[in-house]
């Protein structure tokens, strides 16, 4: 029986810039930042109030996960904003929106009341998009 999810991956174009985005802008905590040799860096962060879920900020490079061609294709797709990797929750969406906007984060949808709650959409520094929600 599966009991929990421990890791989830987000593919990013640049791990240094992703570190700045997720840690310094979104306020996530660094869980593991380890050099694995040959340019591989294992970088995981956790949402501030969810320390048990590690989000792996995975670089798209030829090697373990991708061939040269598939890495190039994946980078293009990420840049284009093809992937929506998840939904983040916050306690006060208007305060969170104002703060992230002030930090220069690009929103593709301002907070709007929907039948399921208030929702906004924003992009990370690579082009991945996320929903930001506040439960009703």
């Amino acid at each position: 029986m599966i009991t929990r999810m421990s890791h989830v991956s987000i593919y990013v174009l640049n791990q240094d810039s992703a570190f700045d985005f997720y840690v310094n802008k979104l306020g996530f905590k660094v869980h593991t930042d380890a050099a694995m040799g040959e340019g591989m860096r294992w970088l995981t962060v956790t949402p501030p109030e969810q320390p048990e879920l590690e989000i792996t900020l995975m670089s798209i490079t030829e090697g373990m996960m991708f061939t040269k061609e598939s890495a190039a294709t994946m980078k293009e797709l990420v840049k284009k904003g093809t992937f929506g990797f998840g939904v983040f929750e916050c306690k006060d969406i208007f305060a969170t929106y104002e703060e992230l906007k002030a930090k220069g984060i690009e929103f593709t949808k301002e907070p709007k009341k929907e039948f399921y709650g208030v929702e906004a959409l924003f992009k990370d520094d690579s082009g991945n998009w996320f929903s930001l929600g506040q439960k009703q």
Binding site: M36, K91, E99
Partner: protein, 148 residues
């Protein structure tokens, strides 16, 4: 530096002023700031400001400032900076009050936290594959074998 939103929703100005004060704390935690500075930043009376801040962030501005300072201290300790240096770097004036608050919030004395982080770092350097999930570690081992 900051870009104000163009969104329009109820109490938009109140939100902007409180967020501005929160960002003021985030950016000035290392200085000798007090509640008056922070309330001034948000253009509120002190009492009204504390109430509104707590409503949004579930902490008083003072408690929030303390948490920011301790979290920054944890970050600096992870980079091997000595405890006494970290204490002043994050805005405390006395090592005693820094150590006491650090222990109350994290459960560790700053020096014990520093040692623990140094130990984890050494372990990562020694056995990096133990720190990543099994499937990736296995793949990495196979990749390494391929090169020989």
């Amino acid at each position: 530096m900051y870009i104000l939103s163009t969104a329009n929703y109820p109490k938009v100005n109140l939100y902007r002023r409180i967020v501005k004060a929160k960002l003021f704390i985030d950016n000035n935690y290392s200085k000798n700031i007090d509640l008056d500075n922070i309330a001034d930043e948000a253009s509120f009376s002190k009492f009204h400001f504390i109430r509104q801040f707590k409503k949004i962030y579930e902490k008083t501005p003072h408690k929030y400032l303390t948490v920011v300072r301790i979290e920054k201290a944890m970050q600096l300790l992870r980079t091997n900076i000595p405890v006494s240096e970290v204490c002043y770097e994050v805005g405390f004036e006395s090592l005693g009050s820094f150590s006491g608050l650090f222990k109350r919030i994290t459960g560790f004395a700053p020096s014990a936290y520093l040692l623990r982080q140094q130990h984890i770092k050494a372990q990562i350097l020694k056995t990096p594959l133990n720190f990543i999930p099994g499937c990736f570690a296995e793949k990495k081992r196979l990749e390494e074998k391929k090169q020989y």
